[in-house]
């Protein structure tokens, strides 16, 4: 069942302060967080978080399309192995 709209999105409050500080510092930094349950808010766009998956901090570069999703969605906890083959990566 979806979360009630009247409650608003859930986010751990202390992330907001850290995100504000990171945006103002304008340095290249990774904010390492354990809060996989927090919703990605518009003020996080452009920042890079390291989201803990139980073993390591997966870098999550927040973009506009990710707003409304949870941090944990981008940091899988199961190991996936595949072949690189002809797959490409675009440098952001």
């Amino acid at each position: 069942m979806a979360r009630s709209i009247w409650k608003g999105p859930f986010v751990d409050g202390y992330l907001l302060g850290k995100a504000d500080a990171a945006r103002e510092s304008k340095r290249s930094e990774i904010i390492k967080i354990w809060s996989r349950r927090s919703t990605i808010l518009p003020q996080f766009v452009g920042l890079t978080f390291g989201v803990y998956n139980g073993k390591k901090f997966i870098p999550v570069q927040v973009s506009e399309n990710m707003v409304g999703h949870k941090f944990g969605e981008f940091s899988p906890t199961r190991t996936f192995t595949g072949h690189s083959s002809d797959k490409k990566a675009k440098r952001g």
Partner: protein, 204 residues
């Protein structure tokens, strides 16, 4: 230096009696495996010209019956790196990035690229140093300013790390006070029922 040959698939079990085979394609689009021209086996001795039929089934030139197809099951298929189409600006084949040596701008070695992954939030590199420690870095122009595939190295600018420790409330403990309803128990009905040893409350 990256491997000049790239693994793109594997021949699976025979399909039917006319020499068709199932193909496990590792390419982004499965049908692309047939578009790179003849493929070779691991030793580079045999060549296979595939005709893609859809649904993971392909015809291999020169293979006309099921027995011949069955003998090829498990054969890994490779393509020469130069057969892959050129990439756009700021784009790199993962096969080119894996194996590159990483060093900081000051020249301090940071290990070797062992994997490039993308879980929907931008690609990132996994570096592993001589002691086996892994470092995960976002693949951005800020963090990886120089990628020299021909030279076999990348230059990284390690980002600062801000550690945000979990606070009370993150480990499942609610920070919000329990809802106060006059006369209501904080426990759900089932828990209350068990606490009473299976006896119903007088109020019930």
């Amino acid at each position: 230096m990256p491997d000049p040959r790239i693994l793109v698939g594997e021949i699976g079990r025979p399909h039917g009696v006319r020499g068709l085979v199932k193909i496990h394609a590792f390419t982004t689009e499965p049908s692309d495996i047939a578009s790179y021209g003849p493929l070779t086996d691991a030793e580079g001795v045999r060549t296979f010209a595939l005709g893609w039929l859809g649904g993971g089934v392909a015809r291999i030139e020169g293979v006309a019956d099921r027995d011949a197809a069955a003998r090829l099951t498990g054969t890994r298929l490779y393509v020469a790196r130069e057969r892959l189409p050129p990439v756009e600006e700021e784009e790199f084949y993962l096969a080119d990035l894996v194996g590159l040596d990483a060093a900081t701008v000051e020249g301090e070695p940071q290990g070797r690229v062992v994997a490039v992954e993308d879980f929907g939030a931008g690609p990132f590199l996994t570096l592993r140093d001589a002691e086996g420690r892994e470092t995960l870095l976002p693949f951005t122009r800020t963090v990886v300013p120089v990628v020299d595939v021909a030279g076999g190295k990348i230059q990284v600018a390690l980002p600062d790390e801000v550690i945000v420790q979990p606070e009370p409330g993150e480990n499942g403990l609610s920070e919000e006070p329990a809802t106060a309803i006059a006369g209501a128990s904080p426990l759900p009905r089932r828990s209350q029922h068990r606490r009473n040893g299976g006896q119903r409350d007088a109020a019930d």
